[in-house]
C-alpha cells in the first residue's frame, strides 16, 4: 500500500461530485426523536443501509477507518471535508451512532483480526447495524455494575440478563454486550465483552414507549443466549479495559472521526426558534426576541465549544476526558433551549392543532427535555469526569471497590 494519501482537496472534489450526482438534497436534516410510524421508520432504515452501500462503493465510507477493513485510511480533516460537502444532503443517519462509534471503534481497538475482517467491512457496506448492550435496568450510570451474566460452557458462553436504552434494536443486527463473567472479584475485574446477533432465539426485544410517543428505545431480555468464545472481545474478566475505551468512544460522538455528521444538521428539539415565535405570532415581542437571542447564543457557543474540544483532543492539547466538558455544556444548553421553545410557543405549548406549525408539539419536547442531560451518559457523570479527571479533584468514595462483586450492597429485590 502506498504511503501517499489523497489530499483533502482532491478528496473534497471527489466527494462533492459524487454527492451531487447520487444523493438526494433534503435541506436541513432533523435528527429527531419525534415519532414516525413503523413503516416509515423501516423505510428510513432501508434507505440508510442503501446510502451507506452507495458511499462504500464510491470509496467514501469509513473515511478514517483502515483500508484493510474497507475504510479509506484518511484523516479527520478528510472526514470534516465530507461533513461539509454533505451539508443539506441525505446521509445514513441511523448508522452513525452507535454503529460507527462506539461499536466499530471498539472492534477496531480490541477485535481480533478475524473479528475485524468479518464485521468492519460489513458495517461499512450497511449490512450490519449495531447496538450497544451496555446499560441495564438495575443501574444507568454505574455501567460496571452490570448484572447480565455470562457463564462458560466449553467453547461457548451462556448469557442471561437484560439490557436497555438501545435505540432501534428492533431493526438492528448485532449487539456489543458487556457481561459479568466473575462474581468473586471486585466489579471492574469480573467483566467481559461479547458480540452477538440480535435476531436469534433467546433475545427478546421489547420496545419502550417514551413520553413523546416515540418507541425507538428498546429493552432486551437475554435468556440462555449461547455465544461462541470466538465472539468475545478482549480478555476474559478484562472487559473494563474495553468498557473504558467504549465509553470514551461513546462520549466522542460527533467529535469522533468515524462519525459522519453533515454541517448544518440539527438535532431533535432544535427547530428554529425564529419559526416557533413566528408561528405563535410573537416575533415582534421584545421578550420573545430576547429569548430567541439567548437560544442563538447557546447554539453558537455550543458549536464553538464542540470544535474547541474536538481540536484540543485531536492535537493532544486536551486530555480525552475533556469530551465530558462539551457533553456537560450541551446538556445544559439543550434543556434551556427546549424551555425557551416551549415558552415561545405560548398556549400552543399546552394544546395545539396542526395549523400551529412550528409552535405545535412543543409540550412534548418539554416533557422529554431532560433526555439531553441523560442520554449518552448523564450530566452528573460528566460532572464527575470533569472534576475528577480534568481538574484532578479527589475521586468519590464508593462501597464497591476492593470487595467481591457478589458482596456489594444492592437494592433489596
Amino acid at each position: 500500500m502506498s504511503d501517499e494519501i489523497e489530499s483533502v482537496e482532491e478528496f473534497r472534489a471527489r466527494a462533492r461530485t459524487w454527492i451531487r450526482g447520487n444523493l438526494d438534497h433534503v435541506g436541513t436534516i432533523m435528527v429527531s426523536l419525534r415519532d414516525r410510524n413503523d413503516e416509515e421508520e423501516l423505510a428510513g432504515v432501508a434507505r440508510d443501509r442503501e446510502v451507506q452501500r452507495m458511499l462504500f462503493d464510491a470509496g467514501l465510507a469509513g473515511v478514517c477507518m483502515p483500508r484493510e477493513y474497507g475504510g479509506q485510511g484518511l484523516t479527520p480533516l478528510h472526514q470534516q471535508a465530507l461533513n461539509e460537502e454533505l451539508e443539506g444532503y441525505e446521509y445514513p443517519m441511523r448508522l452513525q451512532a452507535p454503529t460507527f462509534t462506539p461499536c466499530a471503534a471498539v472492534l477496531l481497538d480490541f477485535g481480533t483480526e478475524e473479528q475485524k475482517q468479518r464485521h468492519i467491512p460489513a458495517i461499512l457496506k450497511g449490512e450490519e447495524i449495531w447496538m450497544q448492550f451496555l446499560s441495564e435496568p438495575s443501574g444507568g450510570s454505574d455501567v460496571a455494575g452490570a448484572l447480565t451474566t455470562a457463564v462458560r460452557d466449553g467453547d461457548e458462553w451462556i448469557l442471561n440478563g437484560s439490557k436497555v436504552w438501545t435505540t432501534g434494536a428492533w431493526w438492528s443486527d448485532w449487539g456489543l454486550c458487556l457481561a459479568r463473567t466473575n462474581w468473586d472479584v471486585p466489579k471492574h475485574r469480573g467483566l467481559s465483552v461479547f458480540i452477538l446477533p440480535i435476531n436469534q432465539e433467546g433475545v427478546e426485544v421489547h420496545r419502550i414507549e417514551m413520553l413523546n410517543g416515540n418507541k425507538e428505545f428498546c429493552q432486551e431480555f437475554l435468556s440462555d443466549v449461547r455465544v461462541p468464545d470466538r465472539d468475545r472481545i478482549g480478555e476474559v474478566d478484562d472487559g473494563w479495559t474495553v468498557g473504558t475505551r467504549w465509553m470514551f468512544h461513546e462520549r466522542m460522538l460527533y467529535n469522533s472521526p468515524f462519525v459522519t455528521f453533515p454541517v448544518g444538521t440539527k438535532r431533535g428539539g432544535d427547530a428554529s426558534v425564529l419559526e416557533i415565535a413566528r408561528a405563535a405570532g410573537r416575533l415582534d415581542d421584545p421578550v420573545a426576541r430576547d429569548l430567541i437571542g439567548e437560544t442563538l447564543t447557546l447554539d453558537h457557543v455550543d458549536a464553538a465549544l464542540k470544535r474547541r474540544v474536538g481540536k484540543g483532543i485531536a492535537t493532544r492539547t486536551m486530555s480525552d476526558q475533556s469530551s465530558a466538558v462539551s457533553r456537560l455544556f450541551f446538556g445544559n444548553a439543550a434543556t434551556r433551549k427546549i424551555s425557551i421553545s416551549f415558552e415561545l410557543a405560548g398556549t400552543a405549548g399546552a394544546a395545539w392543532v396542526d395549523e400551529d406549525g412550528e409552535a405545535a408539539d412543543r409540550g412534548n419536547d418539554l416533557l422529554m427535555r431532560q433526555i439531553a442531560c441523560i442520554g449518552g451518559g448523564t450530566t452528573e457523570m460528566a460532572r464527575n469526569v470533569v472534576s475528577e479527571r480534568v481538574l484532578g479533584m479527589p475521586r468519590e468514595r464508593t462501597m464497591d471497590r476492593d470487595v467481591p462483586f457478589r458482596d456489594v450492597p444492592r437494592a433489596p429485590s
Partner: protein
C-alpha cells in the same frame, strides 16, 4: 485563548505577562485605587514598546502584527490584561489606532505616531446616555460648516478621557455617521469624572458644546463612517471578551487552588461532590467562553460574514455566564471572597465593568435575533 500559539505569540504573551507581574501585581492595583488617573505615563509607554498599541496598525505606519493576524495577537495581550486586572485603555486605544491607520489618511499620522510610541493616548467616544444608549445608537451631531465641523452632544462612559490627548468621536451627520478626532483641549469639550467599580480604569462623561475643529479632523469620509464604526464595535467586543476570558481564567484557577488547599471537616473542599459538580459547570462555562471568543476574534479579523453574529454571541454569553462563574468563585471562597484584602475582586471588577461596555448582553441577544432574522429572510 487559542489552544496553540506560535513561538512568537508565546513570546509576546510571556513578555506582557512578566511585565504586568512586575509592574502591576495585585497590591499595586489595589494602591492605584487612589491614583487619580489609574496608571503612570511610564507604564503605558513601556507597554507601547512591548507592542500594546501597534498590532492593529499597518507596517507602513510603524505597526505590524506578530502572526499576520493582529487581532489574534492583541487578544493575547487583552487576555493578560484580564489575568492581571491591568490598568490602561487597551481596547479603546487600539480601536482608535486601527481606525487612524485604516482610514485616517495623511492628516492623523502625527497622532498615530504618538499612540504607537505610547507618548499620547487616544480613546474612543462611542456610547451615549439614555435614551440614546442602544447598541450602536448615535445621536451626537456633527455639522459640516465650510472648512470646519461642529460637534454637539454627550458621550458616556468614555474610558481614560481625561488622560487622553485625543478623542475619536462617533457622530451623526444627517442619515450617515461621521468620525472626528478631537483634541481634548478644544474649546467646548468638558469632562465630568465618573465613579466605577474597576480600581484602575477611569471613565468620564464628555460633553461637546458646539465644539469646532477643522474639517481635516474628520477621520475617513464625513457621513459615511457606518461600516468603519461597525468594524470598531466588533473589534471592541472581541477584545473585551478576550480580556474577560483572562479574568475568568485567573479567578477560576485561583478558586480551584483554594478548593485543594482549604480543609473543612477534615477534608479538602475539592473532595465534596456538591462542590466538585459546581466546579465542573464552571469549567464548562470557562471553556465555552474561550471557544466562542476565539471564534469571534478569528471571524472579526477575517471580516467573515458571521463575524457580527459570533461577536454578539460571545458578548451575550460571557456577560451572564461569566458573571455567574465569578460569583461562584466568590461563593466558594466564602466570606474572604468579598473582602478588599483578597485578590479575587480585582477580576470580578474587571468582568463586571466589561459586561456593560460595548453593548449589554441583552442588546447583543437582540442583535443576534435581528441578524438571524435578516439572514433567514
Amino acid at each position: 485563548m487559542q489552544l496553540e500559539l506560535s513561538p512568537d505569540q508565546e513570546m509576546l504573551r510571556d513578555t506582557t505577562a512578566r511585565f504586568l507581574d512586575e509592574l502591576v501585581p495585585p497590591d499595586e492595583v489595589r494602591r492605584l485605587r487612589d491614583d487619580p488617573t489609574g496608571f503612570d505615563d511610564r507604564y503605558w509607554e513601556r507597554g507601547a514598546e512591548l507592542g500594546w498599541t501597534s498590532l492593529l496598525v499597518s507596517e507602513d505606519h510603524g505597526g505590524g502584527s506578530i502572526s499576520g493576524v493582529g487581532l489574534a495577537d492583541l487578544a493575547l495581550i487583552s487576555h493578560e490584561f484580564g489575568r492581571h486586572a491591568a490598568p490602561g485603555p487597551l481596547t479603546a486605544a487600539n480601536v482608535v489606532a486601527a481606525t487612524l491607520s485604516e482610514v485616517g489618511g495623511e492628516s492623523h499620522l502625527d497622532v498615530l505616531g504618538e499612540l504607537l510610541a505610547g507618548t499620547a493616548i487616544a480613546t474612543w467616544a462611542a456610547a451615549e446616555p439614555a435614551p440614546h444608549d442602544g447598541l450602536g445608537e448615535v445621536a451626537l451631531e456633527v455639522r459640516i460648516e465650510g472648512d470646519e465641523v461642529v460637534l454637539s452632544g454627550v458621550k458616556r462612559p468614555v474610558e481614560s478621557a481625561e488622560r487622553a490627548s485625543h478623542l475619536l468621536v462617533t457622530g451623526r451627520t444627517g442619515d450617515g455617521l461621521t468620525q472626528v478626532l478631537v483634541p481634548t483641549g478644544t474649546a467646548g469639550v468638558s469632562m465630568r469624572p465618573m465613579r466605577s467599580v474597576d480600581l484602575t480604569r477611569r471613565f468620564a462623561v464628555v460633553t461637546f458644546d458646539e465644539v469646532r475643529v477643522p474639517i481635516a479632523a474628520v477621520v475617513g469620509e464625513a457621513g459615511r463612517a457606518g461600516a468603519q464604526v461597525d468594524r470598531q464595535l466588533l473589534r471592541a467586543v472581541a477584545l473585551t471578551c478576550a480580556e474577560d476570558v483572562g479574568a475568568l481564567q485567573l479567578a477560576f484557577d485561583m478558586t480551584v487552588e483554594w478548593a485543594f488547599d482549604r480543609y473543612s471537616f477534615g477534608r479538602p473542599l475539592a473532595s465534596f461532590q456538591a462542590l466538585k459538580h459546581r466546579f465542573a459547570d464552571m469549567k464548562a462555562w470557562l471553556e465555552a467562553s474561550h471557544a466562542i471568543t476565539d471564534e469571534a476574534i478569528e471571524a472579526v479579523s477575517a471580516g467573515a460574514p458571521d463575524a457580527a453574529r459570533l461577536a454578539s454571541a460571545a458578548k451575550a454569553f460571557i456577560g451572564p455566564y461569566g458573571a455567574e462563574l465569578m460569583q461562584e468563585c466568590v461563593q466558594l471562597h466564602g466570606g474572604i471572597g468579598v473582602t478588599f484584602e483578597h485578590d479575587l475582586h480585582l477580576y470580578l471588577r474587571r468582568h463586571t465593568v466589561n459586561q456593560s461596555l460595548y453593548g449589554t448582553p441583552a442588546q447583543h441577544r437582540q442583535r443576534l435575533t435581528d441578524l438571524h432574522e435578516e439572514e433567514a429572510a
